[in-house]
Each structure stands twice: as structure tokens, then as C-alpha cells.
């Protein structure tokens, strides 16, 4: 094991002096002011409850999952929350797999305390059968890249993941009401957790000179600091927890100043998290439409091979759309047809454009038959699919393109559908306006 230690990074005296001297003139090595945070990016994964946060060079991933377990004896009516931290060896050459180090345990405890003691996550709503079955929420935090200030980044990742997590809905059944039926996501929509407030951790670093204090220290600054404090506050101004484990002594006034700063920063970060979660939720809603459409489309339309079939389906889809408005039925019908077109187009175009630019995908809207007919006419029937030896050319740009394909055409093309979803009652009252709007493109196309 000595070999590993031999490869870990050691800071030179020059670096240390440089950082301290620069801080005397309120300059930090990466150009920030002492009280500035690094750039924060919050991204979400495909599943509900998985988030990836980048704070400068620090990269953290959090995954939330839930299981039905027995509750603690002292709290039979409450669900449980557990935080597991993984300091992956990929984050830092000095992180070793196996037993968690004390900084990993400390990080887990800080996040846990911020969530549990302040009752940020409503645990009573997680109870299913009092005393027997409750939802046990588990947060796994994986540190992917250690660029300094892991606590703040991990906290933000955990909060973002909790906000986007959805647990399956379950109901009590059976003769005595004691049997728990967990509904799969296809049957009933999973429901989000109830989060009362967002406790944001803000880390301060103190140096040997008493006047110097920084927020969000980087990895290099962390090696120079003599004292560190993490204050977990929420946007309402409540202090959820303070962690100052040893290190240099700090004056009370400085601490109060820190708490005030933390309050300001918490407000900023809370706004950023909420924005990111909003965007994710809208994308999720759009994806749900698409998911329904694809799962139904395959049953409906066998093999989407020839161009004529596509045209027929198009005409059929427009008929469907008009029928839909009259009946004000579920929007799956409309989504089905548009999903069909989308998947048809995707398959047709992907086999056609082997080696061609995949930027074509962005153009294919689901509700513009003109473009579809033009593209079909210029490229003939899709017979390549039938060849056994054919394989699709997939480029690196495809996933981002596909994402934009799904979000923009569904956004543009299905605006009408969304209006319909939101205004089914109005539709029942005024079907004529919508019908006219929808028929115009089909009339011009036909």
C-alpha cells in the first residue's frame, strides 16, 4: 500500500505561499472573488431520482432508490432515510476502495443531518402499514471527480435527486386491508416525495491569517486551509446544521458573518436547483407522452416499411386527430399517431442516411406532412431495412440530436396536443376552432 501513497499528490511550499499571498489581495487562483461559488451545472439521468452535479471540477452523482422495509421500532409511522457515500477511486488517486475513510463518513453525516434533523423530507408520508411496512429511501452518492468542496456538491446532488425521485404508488388491499399492492409505473404514475425545504450546505475555509475566509474552496485551497466550517441553511434563513470539526479557532463575529453569507448563497443555489428540476419535469412529461406512443405504436402498426404505408398512416393519423377532438378522449390516441410518424421517420431515415449527416433528424416534425412527403419522394421507398446485412450508422451526434428531436418536435408539433390535454373540457365546448386549425396543414398537404 505504500506504493499508492507514493503516487498521491503533495503540495509544494511555493504553491501554499502563492495561494495565501494571493488571498491577501482577495484574489483566488482560479480568478474568483473570495465569496464566489464556482460554476454549478445540474444534470439528470434517464431514471427518476438520479442526478449529476458539477461544481467547477468537482463531479458528483447521486442516485435515490426506495424499498419497502420494516420501520424502526421507536418510529413505527415514519419512513427511513439513509445516505451512503462512495468515494470512488476514480475521483482521486488517494481514494481507495473498501472501507470508507473518515472524510467520507463525515460527508455522509453532514448531508444526513441536514435532511433528517430539519425534517426536509417528509417521512410520515412514507408510511404504508404502520409498524410493518414503510418506504426506506436510500441515497447513494458517488464522487466521480474530486476538485474540492465535495460536501456542497454532494449535498446539491442529493437534493436534486430527491426532488426528481418518484416512488411507486401502492395501495392497501386484501381482506383485512393488510396486503400491500405496489403498482408498477406503467399502471399508475409514481409519486414524488414530499420535500418541505431544501437545506443547502455552504462550506467556508479559514486560513492562518484571521481575516481571510473563502467560500467553496478548490482542491488546492483545501490543502492550504487551516480551518473549515460547513453551514447548512435553507432559503428561509433557518440554520439546519453547522459542522466545524476542529481546525483553527474562529471569532464569533466571523461565524455570524459566515451564517449571513450562507443564507444568501443558499437562496441562489435553491433557485438554481429548482430551475433545473423544473426543466427536468417538463422534459419528463414530454417523454412520458412519447413513451406511451412508442409502446402503443408498435402494437398498432406492424412493420413501418414502405412509403405508401407511411402516407396511409399519415392520413389515418389526421383522421384520428379530428376524431380525438370530437370525443375529447385521452391524448394517447393523438400521441400514438405522432409517435408512429416519429418512429417511422427515425427508422426510415436512419437506414437511408448511412454515412450522411444526422442533422436531418432535427427537421422531421411529426405534424408537417409536407416535409415528410418531400423527403419520401426524393429518397424512394425504404427497402434497405430488409437487407440482412444492413446495420445502422449511428453517430456520436445522434443522442443529443434525438433528445432535441424528441423535445422540439414534441414541443412544437404537440403543442396542440398539449393544449388539448390541458383543455379537454374547453374542447368539448369549442371543438370547431381546433378542428379548423388542425385541418389546415392536412388540407394544404393533401
Amino acid at each position: 500500500m505504500e506504493q499508492r501513497l507514493a503516487n498521491s499528490w503533495r503540495q509544494t511550499i511555493n504553491e501554499k505561499k502563492f495561494i495565501e499571498t494571493a488571498l491577501l489581495s482577495e484574489l483566488r487562483v482560479d480568478g474568483r472573488r473570495p465569496f464566489d461559488y464556482r460554476k454549478l451545472t445540474i444534470k439528470f439521468g434517464k431514471d427518476d431520482g438520479s442526478s449529476e452535479v458539477q461544481l467547477g471540477h468537482t463531479h458528483v452523482m447521486a442516485i435515490v432508490s426506495a424499498q419497502l422495509l420494516q420501520p424502526y421500532k421507536e418510529r413505527p409511522n415514519e419512513g427511513t432515510l439513509a445516505v451512503f457515500t462512495e468515494f470512488s477511486p476514480m475521483a482521486d488517486p488517494s481514494f481507495e476502495p473498501g472501507r470508507p475513510r473518515e472524510s467520507a463518513v463525515e460527508l455522509g453525516r453532514i448531508i444526513d443531518r441536514g435532511l433528517r434533523e430539519s425534517r426536509a423530507v417528509d417521512t410520515e408520508s412514507l408510511c404504508v402499514l404502520s409498524g410493518k411496512l414503510v418506504w426506506a429511501v436510500r441515497i447513494d452518492i458517488h464522487i466521480l471527480d474530486n476538485g474540492g468542496n465535495l460536501v456542497d456538491a454532494a449535498n446539491i446532488a442529493a437534493l436534486a435527486a430527491l426532488l426528481t425521485f418518484r416512488r411507486p404508488e401502492c395501495s392497501l388491499g386484501g381482506e383485512d386491508g393488510q396486503q400491500v399492492v405496489v403498482h408498477p409505473p406503467e399502471v399508475r404514475d409514481p409519486i414524488p416525495l414530499i420535500i418541505h425545504h431544501l437545506p443547502i450546505a455552504v462550506t467556508f475555509g479559514f486560513f492562518s491569517n484571521e481575516n481571510i475566509m473563502v467560500i467553496d474552496p478548490t482542491y488546492h485551497e483545501e490543502a492550504v486551509l487551516t480551518g473549515r466550517m460547513t453551514a447548512t441553511v435553507n432559503a428561509n434563513g433557518d440554520v439546519c446544521s453547522i459542522q466545524k470539526a476542529g481546525g483553527e479557532g474562529v471569532y464569533q463575529q466571523v461565524l455570524m458573518h459566515c451564517l449571513k453569507l450562507a443564507h444568501v448563497k443558499a437562496g441562489d443555489i435553491t433557485a438554481k436547483i429548482k430551475d433545473a428540476v423544473e426543466i427536468y419535469n417538463t422534459q419528463r412529461a414530454l417523454r412520458k407522452i412519447k413513451r406511451h406512443s412508442i409502446s402503443v405504436a408498435m402494437d398498432v402498426c406492424g412493420t413501418p416499411a414502405k412509403s405508401r404505408e407511411k402516407q396511409n398512416q399519415l392520413d389515418g393519423s389526421h383522421l384520428d386527430q379530428s376524431k380525438f377532438k370530437d370525443e375529447a378522449s385521452s391524448m394517447e390516441c393523438d400521441a400514438t399517431s405522432s409517435g408512429q410518424e416519429q418512429s417511422n421517420k427515425r427508422d426510415g431515415v436512419s437506414n437511408k442516411f448511412i454515412g450522411g449527416p444526422s442533422s436531418w433528424y432535427g427537421i422531421s416534425y411529426c405534424c408537417s406532412p409536407d416535409l415528410l412527403k418531400a423527403s419520401l419522394a426524393s429518397h424512394g421507398p425504404a427497402t434497405h431495412r430488409k437487407q440482412k446485412g444492413s446495420r445502422s450508422e449511428t453517430k456520436a451526434e445522434e443522442p443529443p440530436q434525438e433528445m432535441t428531436t424528441y423535445s422540439s418536435p414534441t414541443a412544437a408539433g404537440l403543442d396542440a396536443a398539449q393544449n388539448i390535454e390541458g383543455k379537454t373540457l374547453k374542447d368539448a365546448v369549442k371543438p370547431k376552432n381546433k378542428r379548423k386549425k388542425k385541418r389546415l396543414p392536412s388540407d394544404s398537404g393533401n
Binding site: A6, H59, S88, M90, A91, P93, R138, D140, R346, S390
Partner: protein, 243 residues
């Protein structure tokens, strides 16, 4: 006669591939690889001094750490680590840095079928990003055999569960192995015809397995083209990462 897959692909069609390199700052080399929804992050820490106790000190050795998305590390993870280690050992030139250990850490971000091939591809890209000397690249593919005998490439999780059997195949990719498009000639290629790794689950007939190998090799040309394009250096002056 078309066989329909739930997401509308043809039997020989892969899911959309995506690869990005140098995503981590502390690691010497890193890459993410995603096939459809399956996404894996791999990081490499370049040769460190010393080898573990049971390793041969005359050669460079590898250490693989597999991190699942959630849960405890169990036997399945250990098996993946072992397979990955042996695969990577065979593609690297081990005689260059004797008595060193290179660590490869794999983190599963999302598992939607064909996880091990995705991880092998990611690890290979990460090794290139770190500058570890390799004999050749490795491309991995998953071929599955359905009950009716049809072979489907790159199944997702739902398909994997329904299949009778599936196999993970890893093929080498030499620098002269870029085949012309839709070429069916087998003879006259100056490439190696070996398989680096083959892991099978479930029972399939010998013929089925040989068909899987054929299909896998045919697709590996496409995959290796994609891999090669992605690992080309973005700029001529890429700084080295020495920790």
C-alpha cells in the same frame, strides 16, 4: 419477414452510441460510453509503482474496480472486474512498464442491457485517453439468441430477459481493419480473426453461437470506426495529465 423489436430496431441495428473523452480532471484518462440508455463512466490512473502480491512483477499489471449504481458490491461485480481485467491485459503491451499497476475504475451510471460490453468499450476509450500503450483497440458487442433462433444485436434490458441466451463478445480492432462499406468478403483481410473475450449466458446451439460470432465481427467494424473517430485527438496540443 421482419422481426419486430420493442423499440423498432432491426435485428442488426445497434442503439445510438455516444462517447466522450477526458471528462474528469483528476483521472489520467477518462471516458463515458453510452449505448442507448446504458451509460458507463470509466477512469484510468496511469502506471503507478509496484504490483500487488500475486501479480507477475515482470509485466505491467491491471487493477479493475467496478462500481455498481446502487447497492453492495457482490459476486457479480467481482466477476465483471475479473473479465474486464483479463480483457484489458490482453490488449495492452505489458512489457513496456514492468512492475507497475494501472487502475481502471468503472462506474455504472445506468444499466439498460449490454452492460459489460459498454463497460469494456468505455474502459478501452479511457485507456487511450490516458495514453497507456495498447496493442490494438477492443470493441465489445452483445449478441442474443431468441427462442425462434433469430439473432438480435445489442439487446436492451427487457429483451435480454426474454432471450433464450446471449453472449458478450469482444473483438480486436487493428489499424488496417477498416472494411469498405457493406463488404462481404472474408478472405484477404490482413486482420486478426481472433476473439478476445466471449461470455455467454444461457444455452444456445453451436450453430447459433457461430452465427453470433459472425454477426458480432461484422458489426465490430462499425463500432471500431466509431471508436476510432471519437478517440482522435481533438487538438494537436493536448496537455498531458500527470496528476
Amino acid at each position: 419477414m421482419e422481426i419486430e423489436r420493442p423499440d423498432g430496431r432491426s435485428p442488426n441495428q445497434l442503439r445510438p452510441l455516444a462517447c466522450s473523452r477526458s471528462i474528469l480532471h483528476r483521472a489520467h484518462g477518462s471516458a463515458t460510453w453510452s449505448q442507448g440508455d446504458t451509460k458507463v463512466v470509466a477512469a484510468v490512473y496511469g502506471p503507478k509503482a509496484g504490483t500487488r502480491k500475486n501479480e507477475n512483477p515482470e509485466k505491467a499489471s491491471f487493477e479493475v474496480v467496478w462500481k455498481p449504481k446502487t447497492g453492495q458490491i457482490g459476486k457479480a461485480e467481482r466477476e465483471y472486474e475479473m473479465i474486464l481485467k483479463r480483457t484489458l491485459e490482453s490488449i495492452c503491451i505489458r512489457s513496456i512498464y514492468p512492475n507497475t499497476t494501472t487502475s481502471v475504475i468503472v462506474q455504472v451510471v445506468h444499466d439498460d442491457g449490454a452492460l459489460l460490453p459498454c463497460a469494456i468499450n468505455a474502459a478501452c476509450a479511457a485507456l487511450v485517453d490516458a495514453g497507456i500503450p495498447l496493442r490494438h483497440l477492443a470493441v465489445a458487442i452483445c449478441c442474443s439468441v431468441a427462442d425462434n433462433g433469430y439473432i438480435f444485436l445489442d439487446p436492451n434490458k427487457q429483451e435480454e430477459e426474454k432471450m433464450k441466451a446471449f453472449s458478450y463478445l469482444v473483438f480486436p480492432n487493428l489499424n488496417v481493419s477498416v472494411l469498405p462499406e457493406r463488404s462481404t468478403q472474408k478472405g484477404g483481410e490482413p486482420t486478426a480473426h481472433g476473439i478476445i473475450t466471449s461470455v455467454t449466458h444461457g444455452a444456445m446451439s453451436v450453430d447459433d453461437y457461430l452465427h453470433c460470432l459472425e454477426r458480432g465481427r461484422a458489426v465490430s467494424a462499425r463500432l471500431s470506426e466509431f471508436l476510432r473517430k471519437n478517440i482522435e485527438p481533438k487538438s494537436s496540443s493536448e496537455s498531458s495529465k500527470a496528476g
